[in-house]
Amino acid sequence: MTRQGRRKVLSDVNFRLGRGENLGILGRNGAGKSTLIRLISGAERPTSGRILRDMRVSWPLAFGGAFQIHLSGLDNLKFVCRVYGVDYKPLVPFVEEFTELGIYFREPVLHYSHGMLTRLAFALSMAIEFDCFLIDEAMVVGDARFHERCHFELFHKRKDRAFILVTHDANVIKLYCKNACVLHEGHLLQFPSVDAAYDFYQGTISARPEPVEL
């Protein structure tokens, strides 16, 4: 819904992801990437159609999302553990170590910097064991060291898991994904290879009319 009335964001999107498979979805800003991720996660329900989840699918791992900002990092960990039925105590050392929050781990999230939020978001989602991770540009934020650690946690320690990664950055997809789609004008276009998707996507970007400088 917008001020101008209903707007169709996605239509006729069909795909299937098996255990251990991964998929990169490319789309420009506003293409509906985050909407699609939220639909897959179940946080939002589609207006029509079906979404079947037969794996333990994560919540959308977006930077800063899924936190109550008045709770501390530790209380957010407890919340997530309670919701997913996991004992939080054994996870505290991992999250504390990974996030490098120090004393801030016990301070309200609203005092965190972007980097701290991102590290906490990532650590929380690693704390709960999922079969399929939904990643909404989370990997794009943060410094090189954080990238490296995320890379290790997700793509080495959990390389048997499935994931769906959405981003506007074609190079990220090329780096991590075995399959790729492009979200273009509400439709999900499938391609035989990541390279084909990459080329098409780069084409849609350059086809965009540039603002004329006077």
Partner: protein, 272 residues
């Protein structure tokens, strides 16, 4: 749209009711802890404020009314009158007022698929009503113990009146809370409505004291019936009570249905 994140379509089964109840229990527990921590913190009295806050309110109003020279209103001692009246208002009004910010303040938590709008609204209502109920019980017991108030004539009728008010309050809270997902106007008009409702909600009078012509208008408000039942249970027939259980129940039922419908629609409208 068809999206599958699965290997075998054949394994698509409806989870058992027991399994779902387990998830529901976990989500409500998590939300309960989340609300209590942010609302009352861990310092000084902590969660005891849940009971302390409504007690302070009720005691304050009781003191004000006593000083206002109303030592006895008809045959009812002012302390008992104020406690029954103001506790009832806290019961139905505060949960609706707390429901106003519920969706906005918990929006990020709705990222988790099992955390839904109804859970957020339910848990706030439960916390608020738990506090109001505990405050009512503690104050009653205290004043009965020191002899300022005599014990309720019919505790079961008090309980019944209290439950009816709780039903009214819960359905109102769910409707108002879900309404905030549709428009900010709900929040803006709720505050003046809640404020204006207090003097006509039956907290500060018995219907019997009003002119007959006014009575039937006042009795259009469902909560007036609840307070009349409660006071009849507390004081017996000292003042004749005017109420209609069927009318109040019908109002509550309609409010509940409207509230549940609004919650279902609100789920679709929450924007991240």
């Amino acid at each position: 749209m068809l999206i599958e994140t699965a290997l075998h379509m054949a394994t698509e089964t409806t989870p058992s009711l027991l399994h779902c109840l387990g998830i529901q229990r976990r989500v409500l527990h998590a939300l309960m802890m989340r609300e209590i921590i942010t609302r009352f913190g861990r310092e000084n009295l902590g969660v005891l404020w849940l009971v302390g806050e409504p007690m302070l309110f009720t005691l304050g109003v009781t003191t004000l009314w006593s000083f206002a020279g109303m030592v006895h209103v008809s045959a009812i001692p002012i302390v008992a009158f104020a406690i029954t009246g103001y506790s009832s208002v806290l019961l139905w009004r505060n949960s609706a007022s707390r429901a106003v910010g519920a969706i906005l303040q918990n929006k990020p938590l709705l990222f988790h698929r099992n955390v839904r709008v109804i859970d957020v609204l339910l848990i706030r209502t439960v916390i608020e009503m738990g506090g109001a109920t505990a405050s009512f019980i503690v104050l009653s017991l205290f004043f009965i113990f020191i002899g300022w108030v005599s014990a309720p004539v019919d505790p079961l009728e008090v309980l019944f009146g209290w439950m009816m008010l709780a039903w009214f309050g819960a359905s109102l809270a769910i409707l108002i809370g879900a309404g905030t997902a549709f428009s900010d106007i709900v929040e803006r008009i709720w505050t003046p409505i809640a404020y204006l409702m207090f003097p006509i909600s039956g907290a500060a009078f018995m219907v019997d004291w009003l002119p007959v012509g006014v009575q039937k208008f006042v009795l259009l408000l469902p909560m007036v019936h609840g307070i009349e039942i409660l006071r009849e249970g507390y004081f017996g027939n000292v003042v004749p009570a005017h109420y209609d259980v069927t009318y109040m129940a019908t109002c509550c039922l309609l409010l509940s249905l409207a509230g549940l419908y609004a919650v279902r629609e609100a789920n679709r409208r929450v924007e991240f």
